[in-house]
Amino acid sequence: MKKFINNVDDFLKESLNGFGKAHSDIIRVNFEPNFISRKTKTKEGKVSLISGGGSGHEPMHGGFVGHGMLDAACPGFVFSAPTPDQMQAAAENVDSGAGVLFIVKNYSGDIMNFQMGAEMYSGKNDSIITNDDVAVEDSTFTTGRRGVAATVLVEKIVGSLAESGGSIEECKKLGEKVNKNSGTMGVAFTSCTVPAAGKPTFDIGNDEMEFGVGIHGEPGRKREKIQPSKTIVNNMLEAILDDLKPQKNEKTLLFINGMGGTPLTELYLVYDDACEILKSKGIEITRSLVGNYCTSLEMQGASITLLKCDEEILKNWDAPVHTAAMRWGM
């Protein structure tokens, strides 16, 4: 394992320390329990948005704390859900009285810990569960689809509504709409290495890729031989379009997300391929996002997220945002 580490046990603490120092104009980091909150207090009447999850997906979620997005984020150990006391403390810290909306990715550990946190918090609260990963078959008898990159879009769009005074019910409704209208498919070329494990999470041949990979290196639909980008992108988009079934000329946001180890050069190439394929299918791309937003440590690979957009979604997407990882309009 080659990583910037002093001591494995201090990995998270030191990284959070650095994050706090680097972005002291926007956020502050609280330790024991760990949470990241905005530097300024939540204004009265504004619903607070809190997300969180295992670390190792940076900039998600701490990088999205700030104006127009989250009020707080609770980082767990690498790839392990945060603990209920973190959510409780974050909620008590940021809630201005308008209530807290938790944004939770659909993973068993996250669901259980956020549920317990919500039970422990005495103020008004509700939750949105994201589950955009089309690689996983959904069924009422299973854990269901994973919450992956579209969580970023949910946090941005709902964050804007909350900023402009949306109620907790309105925020939840919009969040659920964004989640329902988005689909994500991921591919990995290499594994990631969890610091505590010290070795790669899975073995993969030099000429292989994992199609439908999750954001913790957990396997997806199938292991395949690597192919030209156009073919990979086409297969990813087909899986998404099968699920989302967009209308002809429907407006969409195309989000190419890097898993951490793939350069932007390649992500833009993927974007180009995706544009061409979507154009040939008569799907209109009206907004774009390209970059490393929902990563899996140093994994090489990318995910594609397509979001069907209506006016409400577009308006809230375009609204100003000022966080460590996303900033426009202000």
Binding site: P82, S108, G109, M112, N113, M116, T142, T143, A196, E218
Partner: protein
């Protein structure tokens, strides 16, 4: 059962889990993401370190402190589930008096029921509940029956092992392994394995007494 009993069991379990850590980690990397063993090891270490703070406390208080430690110190599914286990055990009525075998059974049953509720998982879903639920059912039988304690504990060891092994051929419908579909078949569930080792260690230490 007393706080000292819990601490000494945690120490025994720590040794056994450490001995089998590589195997559990490998199982988790096959069908999960590899964090389970670190979560279990971290949890045991935290409980053992609590010794001086809780050794003189009444059982209910000790259990609650263990629950909060586990809940806030582990994370992931294991933290929520084991935290729930201890928190619910502490809610068993009448913990002030002497805790005999029947009372201890009742506590464990209460704890496992709460885990089942929290995780919304039942038997046959390739999780630790495949081991814990049948063990809880057996404890319920022992509690009201007239099987000797040693014999009962031996049966539990056997049930835990059989149920752990049975997860190998299951399809997972809960947890991260559920994302694998058919590919999860052929691997024992790491949570079932760690739970079985914990049960095995506790039962064997009681039989030898």
């Amino acid at each position: 059962m007393s706080v000292n009993f819990l601490i000494s069991q945690a120490k025994n379990i720590q040794i056994v889990i450490d001995e089998n850590a590589a195997e559990i980690e490998a199982l988790d990397q096959n069908i999960g993401d590899g964090d389970h063993i670190f979560n279990v090891q971290r949890g045991l270490k935290l409980v053992v370190e609590l010794e001086n703070d809780i050794k003189n406390l009444p059982l209910q208080k000790g259990l609650n402190m263990i629950a909060m430690k586990v809940l806030s110190g582990i994370g992931g599914s294991s933290g929520a589930l084991f935290g729930t286990f201890f928190m619910s055990m502490a809610k068993t009525p009448d913990l002030d008096g002497n805790i005999d075998f029947n009372k201890a059974c009742e506590m464990v049953i209460t704890g496992i029921n709460a885990m089942k509720e929290r995780g919304k998982a039942d038997v046959g879903e390739k999780t630790m509940m495949d081991v814990l639920i049948p063990v809880s059912e057996k404890l319920n039988e022992l509690k009201s029956g007239n099987t000797g304690m040693n014999e009962g504990l031996s049966e539990i060891i056997k049930i835990a092992e059989d149920r752990m092994l049975a997860t190998k051929d299951m399809l997972a419908t809960k947890g991260r392994a559920s994302f694998l579909g058919e590919r999860a078949k052929g691997h024992i569930d790491p949570g079932a394995r760690s739970s079985q080792l914990i049960i095995d260690t506790i039962c064997k230490s009681l039989i030898n007494k």
